[in-house]
Subunit: 557 residues, 2 copies
């Protein structure tokens, strides 16, 4: 008969083997004792690449970045007790952003629950309702063939019908280590899982086509990746422009970008005429101006790629649950009337006017963002933090035929875990170069995330505007308590922060940013370019660009 | 009629005023927009001292440390979205360790829930079942008199019948700021709440007295604060020794420490004879050796100070729910038979033998811990991390008539948030000096916690044994994957880590620790004493001390 240690090892090996058989090939592990069988099974599995990271919060955001970049579920392993609670911010982001994660929480057995045992609390409901499912396993048992099907089910739940995190809680009794060096192999294979795409029936497509064709409309490609080619084919059929959020994936790449508007946040602030119809794919846009402008349209049609209801304005006239690419192509195939060309011309003019204004008024961040995009090689990763970084990208990225992957933790738009997410994406090995654009508070909030960059090559552009610059644009700026309560400038030595993990620190003046970036991208290791931004001056120039871009009358004169 | 901004301000002011009226006087705030009315109400309340900390994980552990040191509920404020999820590790510790926290989570209103709105997820069940209660408020309303009673109820729930965290979820609509500079005062006063002590009926006390008197027993004062004087009076009446966990509060102070054993972890590893009865107050002890020894007693009686069931061995013969001080005194009053003196003599001998062995075998940490305790002035704070720090304190602190407050996050014994907790306790202002003893992984896990120490005077003794030294004592040490998977030594520059926030860094050799400590404690600001420990040598000496202390036969010869 097997002893408990051998049963634990075989059980953990069956779990990890089942996950690997269902397509998982990455594990991110934080050290601990109770999790030993799981960690060992990951480290010893030939099909799993493991990374060990001390801080579970860092580990979870790293796994999130990896899963985003690879578009595959990533396994997390931690020990019992508060360890898993440190995963929570990343789990909440994965829930909101629909990123597949498999959360393997080691646990103590039932006899140690609710009786004051060390490092033990109720982990079974920890992540509810942020997880798609919780599989609460019994303590390891000799009969383990069913774990192949369970792990296949868990991986499937992380992908469909709503991608996101899935927890498997795994209690172990002591001893945690096997005496037998080679645990028996699992004999059972996981089932192959075939998942569908959501296809709208043809009569519904026809109803939609009659509703949209010939009207002054716009496709709004929102703040998550949408399929470029089908949306462009649809825009061509309707003769509509596409407002492309910086996270839509439509701004960068070899596809036809003629109709792709990248400056809507600039020119839709004023009296630009409302559309008759806004057809949105993807999440609500980053831009508040675009969000407000589209609410003035006669009607809004929202395409939800799954069962969610992405309508924060609560004013959609139609909610379509369908695969965006399938829907766009089936709609383009049946549209017969295009809108007259004048409609599109007004968009081209506004886009051009905004580009000129941004150049003329020289917002410091604009030049930096353009330089960064120019410096990156084809296929690179461009990671942006929330708050000002993604908004400046929105306003000033423009468009390029260079293919870039733009990532941002936009599910909950948190300040947390941004560096960890970035390094996780870098770890995918899919990008010839990687650049993160982050503010000073975001950088400091994930200080420990810098540890995850050891051994990688990547560049972090740290925009230091001396605190939470975004609050300069909010009414809180007028409060007497503004500086200590909202701006919260941190007295921190960024050179020291960078040095902890042996990364390279380059204080960089705006005028030197192009050579500094080029140099950093060509150098192995992690480089932090520290750019001091004049916060007040920057805010004034942002406002000037918005004012110059947004007056429809002025520039059509 | 009031506008929405004014209603928000008055609502938040009523909440904070109600909490202050119920005894809260501290708030820890992380910056955000949706939380503006709450943050402003805290910052403007004359009865609340506020601290703003960027990282919500740091903020929550800081609040935990403050609440531990002040023994009063502390308010946390954060914005909507993933912010509150960063509180989770500290909330889980507060739940396990019964630390009162009031969690004020700002939220978006119902119309922005479940519809893809930014920074919005389901916060209402986030902390269930780790919180005592969740109060889900409606969006701010003009009628707010009832908030005085609600906040009194929330504070009461954080203290009784089981102390711990309580959440109040507070949605706000925009605009978030008031136009009226002086919001109307609340007219209603919170009720005064009177809470009971748990008193065992006299007939139950008599039953207990007959069960314990005259038998060879021991009082086990476990890993949380227990009332010294009543326990000593009871030990005197029974003529029993007291095994004092380092977190029991019994090792340091002017009380009669004659019966207080501080080296049980050393001498109870071997063939020390089992007791007939173990009467435990407080949580299960830190020491595994003590835990195993007491399981060999004929019977165990556990005193739970509330409704919990602190019996991880599942082998208690009696579970008594009663106030420890009341119970000890009422029992001492009716005990008539004491155990013969030989029983106690065998304990004195073992304690003495262990002290000699520890001195003779010169475990490096032993001298350091003794020096640290000697250097601290009366009334100081001694914070210890989990893992090796609290175990070395257990083995080597000895006992002193100097009053010290020993704190440790022993609820879930996490590696997380230790520096933040320490600085939170320091912020109470109750201690003339403060010293934290932490290992290298614990230090790095809470790197951002160093930010919280700005402006304080405190000393951190960083025991750097090059990774997770505790694993040297576990079977994982034999694995080929031991170093990358469990020991996980970090290539980190601790001088740089200390420099980020302007703290002082002192690399210290063991021989220089006494002057270095004395100097650090006398200097304002935060000092990090970095002590390199020879991990392998230290483990060997620990083992030698345990061996020399634990043979009962050898030394009674």
């Amino acid at each position: 008969m097997m002893n408990v240690g051998d049963i634990n090892a075989a059980w953990a090996a069956a779990l990890i083997d089942g996950l690997a058989g269902a397509g998982v090939c990455r594990a991110v592990i934080s050290p601990g004792s109770r999790s030993t069988p799981l960690a060992l099974a990951c480290l010893r599995h030939s099909g799993i690449v493991s990374r060990v990271l001390l801080d579970e919060r860092v580990a979870a955001f790293y796994a999130l970045g990896l899963a985003r970049a690879e578009e595959k579920p990533v396994v997390l392993v931690c020990t019992s007790g508060s360890a898993a609670a440190n995963w929570y911010p990343a789990v909440a982001e994965a829930d909101a952003a629909r990123v597949p994660l498999i959360l393997l929480t080691a646990d103590r057995p039932p006899e140690l629950q609710d009786c004051g045992a060390n490092q033990t609390f109720d982990q079974r409901t920890l992540f509810v309702p942020q997880v798609r499912a919780v599989h609460t396993l019994p303590p390891a048992e000799p009969a383990r063939d069913w774990l192949a099907a369970l792990t296949a089910r868990a991986v499937s739940q992380s992908l469909w019908p709503l991608a996101g995190p899935v927890q498997i809680n795994v209690p172990f009794r002591e001893p945690l280590l096997a005496t037998d060096p080679a645990p028996p192999q699992s004999s059972s294979l996981p089932p192959l899982v075939l998942q569908p795409r959501l296809m709208l029936p043809q009569d519904s497509v026809e109803i939609l086509a009659r509703r949209v064709e010939g009207r002054r409309g716009v496709i709004l490609a929102g703040a998550e990746h949408v399929p470029a080619e089908p949306l462009i084919r649809l825009a061509n059929a309707l003769n509509w422009p596409i407002i492309a959020d910086p996270l839509s994936g439509l701004r960068f790449g070899a596809h036809d970008r003629k109709r792709v508007m990248t400056r809507g946040d600039l020119f839709l602030r004023g009296d630009f005429p409302p559309a008759e119809i806004v057809l949105r794919f993807g999440a609500f846009p980053v831009s508040k101006a675009i969000g407000q402008w589209q609410s003035r349209a006669i009607e809004r049609i929202v395409v939800s790629e799954d069962s969610r209801w992405p309508d924060p304005g609560r004013n959609a006239a139609m909610m379509i649950h369908a695969d965006p690419g399938l829907l766009a192509d089936s709609l383009a195939a049946v549209v017969t009337k295009a809108v007259p060309v004048e409609w599109l011309d007004s968009w081209y003019a506004a886009e051009q006017r905004s580009a000129v204004a941004a150049d003329r008024l020289a917002v410091p961040e604009a030049a930096l963002f353009r330089a960064a995009i120019a410096a990156l090689p084809e296929g690179s990763l461009l990671f942006v933090a929330n708050s000002m970084a993604v908004r400046d990208l929105d306003d000033f990225s423009g468009s390029s035929d260079k293919r870039l992957t733009v990532l941002c933790n936009r599910g909950l738009s948190g300040i947390d875990g941004n560096l960890s997410t970035f390094f996780g994406a870098v770890a995918s090995g899919r990008f010839p170069a990687a650049l993160a654009l982050v503010g000073d508070l975001t950088f400091l909030h994930d200080l420990s995330g810098l540890a995850a960059g050891q051994g990688m090559s990547a560049t972090i552009c740290l925009f230091d505007n001396g605190g939470g610059g975004i609050f300069d644009y909010l009414p809180q700026t007028a409060l007497p308590e503004f500086v200590p309560g909202w701006l919260t400038p941190q007295r921190a030595d960024f050179a020291a922060a960078t040095a902890i993990w042996g990364h390279r620190y380059c204080p960089t003046r705006p005028n030197d940013v192009v050579p500094a970036l080029t140099d950093a991208l060509a150098t192995s290791g992690v480089t932090v370019l520290h750019l001091a931004i004049d916060r007040t001056g920057s805010a004034a120039r942002h406002r000037a660009v918005w004012a110059a871009s947004s007056s429809f009358e002025e520039t059509s004169a």
